[in-house]
């Protein structure tokens, strides 16, 4: 199981929409976390999602790889509709295409860094061990910590762990990288090293959706900035327009509170 065939699928060009979500709703009982989100992301775009806590930002990006099932609307990733009827193989494909970086890193504590990174390529894609380890070393060098390869996550600092988490997500060669508040659980002095890795990543043609509070990052690399509030999409614009010319009242309120 070392190759995977995609020859029955059209390739997405540069301007192709890779994520297309229409009217996505999510509810927990009577509480509606998302009330109908329409977002369309092109291949290679960098999106930053801002918003107060509880506005549904994390819930939204978790619906993209179905960590959170949606209760209404459609989610289409790379041409594949993600819903109750998606086949197991398609779901695996979608999840391999999407790399997810959690706020709490969620590294596997009983495995070494190397094993953390090579687990998914070996088990899901069937890549042989030697190849997977070479790939993992290359990724560790990319995120800047090749010497930690054989340590356990408990021996690393928060910033190092998050960088490993990014490497682990990149190991599956994803087209889309989702970041759920990647620096919120870090001490301030470690935020920079993680953001540097993310900025380097942004220079490649990976589509990124980042939920964060780091405005500097948004202003530096984002192609689009989106504001969520109370489960609704309030405003989306280029960074320059968003920060200098906010259109909506809630956007202005939000910017006043944080800047």
């Amino acid at each position: 199981m070392s190759e995977y065939d995609r020859d029955d699928k059209p390739a997405t060009g540069y301007d192709e929409t890779i994520i297309d979500t229409k009217g996505v709703k999510v509810n927990f009982g009577d509480f509606w976390a998302l009330k109908g989100i329409d977002i369309s992301v092109k291949k290679g775009e960098i999106i930053v999602i801002l918003g107060p806590s509880g506005s549904g930002k994390s819930t939204y990006i978790r619906t993209l790889n179905r960590l959170q099932p949606h209760s209404g609307g459609t989610v289409v990733i790379d041409g594949i509709t993600v819903d109750d009827d998606t086949t197991v193989a398609d779901m695996k494909y979608v999840r391999a295409e999407i790399g997810f970086v959690f706020q709490q890193f969620n590294l596997f504590p009983h495995l070494t860094i190397m094993e953390n990174i090579t687990l998914a390529p070996m088990k899901v894609k069937g890549i042989p061990k030697r190849e997977a380890e070479d790939q993992a070393m290359a990724l560790l060098e990319k995120v800047g910590i090749p010497e930690q390869a054989y340590k356990y996550p408990s021996g690393l600092s928060g910033g190092q762990q998050q960088r490993v988490a990014i490497a682990r997500a990149l190991a599956m060669d994803p087209k889309i990288m989702l970041f759920d508040e990647p620096t919120s659980a870090l001490d301030p002095e470690m935020i920079k090293e993680v953001l540097d890795v993310m900025i380097d990543l942004a220079k490649e043609d990976v589509t990124m959706i980042v939920v964060t509070h780091e405005m500097g990052f948004a202003m530096a690399v984002a192609d689009r900035v989106i504001l969520f509030d109370e489960g609704e999409l309030v405003e989306q614009n280029t960074p320059a327009e968003f920060f200098d010319n906010p259109q909506h009242k809630r956007t202005k309120l939000f910017l006043e509170q944080i800047l």
Binding site: K9, D84, T87
Partner: protein, 711 residues
């Protein structure tokens, strides 16, 4: 096409191996697995087919059934069909949705559960067909029908399209070429029916049914295993198909177990049949061996086995209850001592815990009973201790006891009334009175109309009355052969009274202002000491004491009997047999070590700040323990103690080592006498489970009272 589209699947058609371990995993293991499965399936289906044929064969000559293993189809069909139906419903997993739909009175629920309803209809239909319409040959058709039916059920589960097929719209627009799956499902049912009826014409199948059926299972299994590995279906369906595949693979084993048990119940060998047939008539007959029960007397060769069982249960229960009480006391003392600052005492406590925790209970019991038997003085040595209060011998220990038990009960009632009275004097008006509105609430608080003050007092007194009534009806229950119904009613009354008092407490009526200061404590202490002495004096003077009387001359004719006939007079003193003593000592010492660890752990797990705060507020050690430490420690202790108490109950089964007549010992001897192993084994399991449940219920109730405040 039949397959749902699989896009970009990571699974190629033929697996690729990279290393020797991969070759092993990917090529050798599957081949080996298929071979082993073939052997297993053939063997088990073969044995099942033999049993089924034997059981279905009706050899009636001149009106009598010559085949001892015969089961009429009226019994065979529902049992075997029922098990298959049960497996089908479990895999199909529509029952929970069905029940939820029923609760919501949703009419659409039936369309969601079509497959299950179809299965039930098939079951009923086949019952009618088999019992009234068809005469299937026991050699070939009966096994083929049942086993083939089970396999068809498996195929239908795997196909997972019964719901589609049976909906009206699909039946109308049926197109064979597009709907291959539906064709296979319907076709398999039709093929199965045709084969069953005509199997005698196909000797290739009827000669070796297990072979044919195993081949069918193997082919279906392999095909679906490959399909599932293609992962071309949604996750819920994949999980269900995996369960269906497991059902198909386990089918030979399930059928074997079922048919073997059925066969054993009608085994031609009478010993086996005796063992496995489930009927309890023998329990009404007379028991032939004697046991040592107390307080109920059962006589061998006169009383029924049920009564012996009851006496044995009473024996087990009393040793369990006493051990539980003692091990809690001892365990708490040892556990708290372990935390003491006196190094000697804490080391001793640690030594006790370490020694007894690691000893096997069986060895400990045997040791205690042997040691006691060897070292205790002989009966004829007349060893009285404490001035005649205790008679100590290797045949038992006799204590001095109260002369009249009813007087003792009255004394205890007096003390309980005193407590109720003291509580009543401490009562103040609650800030918030909850009044009952609905009927149920009125039932739970029957005295609410009397006003808060009187209600609480009445609730307390009613509890005391209920307890007295319960004791009054419990005593004849455990000492005579009957009295079951009145004891149960009395227990219901007691439970009701308990629930009334706890409801009164929960609703806030019990607002007490207890003086916990030093003077208050001292005052309460003196009141209780005085009360105890008064009651003790009253009981002693009215009822007297019963000292163990050593009789050397039984018939009172002035001639001393031979030493073998010397005895303690009946009714004097209170006897503890050496068996009971050994059992109780062993259980208590063994369990107390674990309880000590639990107590110590719970107290140590308290945040240090709690104790420091208590000290800084100025509480003395006793107040600290009672008001701050124990309430919090109890919360973590109670679930762990629940487990330990259930262990005490189950460990009481080791009484066979010390020859104490508990449930297991009595049932074991009955099994040796009567040979009815399965019925007695079921009784054993039921009794132990009932006891565990009772302990759980009580401990859970106590747990809810202890954790009623959320920390």
């Amino acid at each position: 096409m039949v397959f749902e589209g699989s896009r970009g699947s990571f699974v190629g058609l033929l697996p690729v191996a990279h290393s020797p371990r991969d070759y092993l995993r990917v090529y050798i293991a599957p081949v080996l697995g298929v071979y082993l499965f073939w052997l297993y399936s053939n063997k088990f289906l073969g044995m099942s087919a033999d049993y089924l044929s034997t059981m279905a064969r009706d050899i009636t000559i001149a009106g009598t059934q010559m085949n001892t293993s015969y089961y009429p189809m009226e019994r065979l069909a529902p049992i075997v069909g029922g098990v298959i139906l049960l497996c089908f419903l479990l895999v199909q997993n529509e029952i929970p949705a069905f029940l939820k739909g029923l609760r919501r009175r949703d009419p659409k629920v039936f369309s969601e559960c079509v497959s299950s309803i179809f299965a039930i209809i098939c079951f009923v239909l086949s019952y009618f067909l088999l019992t009234s319409v068809l005469e299937l040959s026991p050699g070939a058709q009966v096994p083929f029908f049942f086993f083939g039916g089970a396999i068809v059920a498996g195929v239908l589960l795997l196909q997972d399209n019964l719901g589609e097929i049976l909906s009206w719209s699909n039946i109308r627009s049926f197109r064979p070429r597009e709907n291959l799956g539906a064709l296979i499902s319907v076709g398999s049912i039709v093929l199965f029916a045709v084969l069953t009826l005509n199997i005698s014409m196909i000797p290739a199948i009827s000669q070796d049914i297990p072979f044919f059926l195993s081949a069918v299972i193997l082919i279906t299994g392999l095909y679906w295993y490959w399909r599932i590995s293609q992962e071309g279906m949604k996750p819920a369906i994949q999980a269900k198909r995996t369960a269906a595949l497991a059902y198909l693979a386990l089918l030979p084993f399930i059928l074997y177990l079922l048919l073997r048990v059925l066969y054993l119940q009608h085994d031609p060998n009478p010993v086996m049949q005796n063992r496995w047939a489930v009927n309890f008539d023998f329990m009404d007959k007379v028991n032939t061996f004697k046991i040592n029960p107390w307080p109920m007397e059962v006589v061998a060769n006169m009383d029924a086995r049920w009564l012996f069982l009851k006496a044995a249960i009473i024996n087990s229960v009393r040793v369990t209850l006493l051990s539980i009480v003692l091990c809690v006391i001892l365990g708490t003392i040892v556990g708290v001592t372990r935390l003491s600052s006196n190094k000697l005492a804490s080391t001793m406590a640690t030594v006790y815990v370490e020694v007894f925790r690691n000893l096997p209970l069986a060895v400990l019991l045997f040791l205690i009973s042997t040691q006691f038997g060897l070292q205790a003085p002989l009966f004829i040595e007349e060893t009285f201790l404490f001035g005649g209060a205790v008679f100590f011998s290797n045949q038992g220990i006799w204590f001095v006891t109260v002369g009249s038990y009813p007087v003792l009960v009255m004394g205890l009632v007096a003390l309980a009334l005193l407590r109720a009275g003291l509580r009543h004097m401490d009562r103040i008006e609650p800030r918030f009175i909850v009044t009952p509105n609905t009927l149920i609430e009125h039932v739970r608080r029957p005295f609410s109309t009397l006003g808060w003050r009187v209600e609480a007092l009445t609730a307390d007194i009613s509890l005391i009355v209920a307890a007295v009534v319960f004791i009054n009806y419990l005593v004849p229950f455990v000492s005579t052969h009957g009295g079951g119904t009145s004891a149960v009613l009395a227990m219901v009354l007691l439970v009701y009274a308990l629930s009334v008092t706890s409801r009164v407490d929960d609703d806030g009526i019990n607002s007490l202002q207890i003086d916990d200061s030093e003077t208050g404590l001292r005052k309460r202490f003196t009141i209780w000491v005085a009360a105890f002495s008064v009651v003790a004096g009253a009981v002693y003077s009215i009822g007297g004491l019963s000292w163990p009387e050593y009789i050397k001359d039984r018939n009172g004719d002035g001639i001393i009997d031979s030493p073998g006939a010397w005895d303690i007079a009946e009714g004097t003193g209170f006897e503890i047999t050496p068996f009971f003593l050994a059992m109780m000592l062993g259980l208590t010492l063994f369990t107390a070590s674990t309880v000590a660890e639990i107590v110590r752990g719970s107290i140590q797990a308290l945040p240090r700040g709690q104790v420091e705060a208590a000290i800084s507020v100025g509480l003395n050690p006793y107040q600290r323990l009672r008001l701050v430490i124990m309430p919090q420690a109890l919360r973590s202790m109670v679930p762990l103690l629940n487990n330990q108490f259930m262990n005490v109950w189950k460990n009481s089964s080791l009484a066979v080592i010390v020859a104490y007549s508990d449930i297991f010992y009595v049932v074991l001897v009955m099994m040796n006498n009567v040979g009815k192993l399965i019925p007695l084994f079921l009784l054993l399991l039921i009794t132990y489970q009932a006891g565990s449940l009772a302990i759980s219920v009580v401990m859970n109730w106590y747990n809810s009272r202890v954790t009623s405040v959320k920390i």
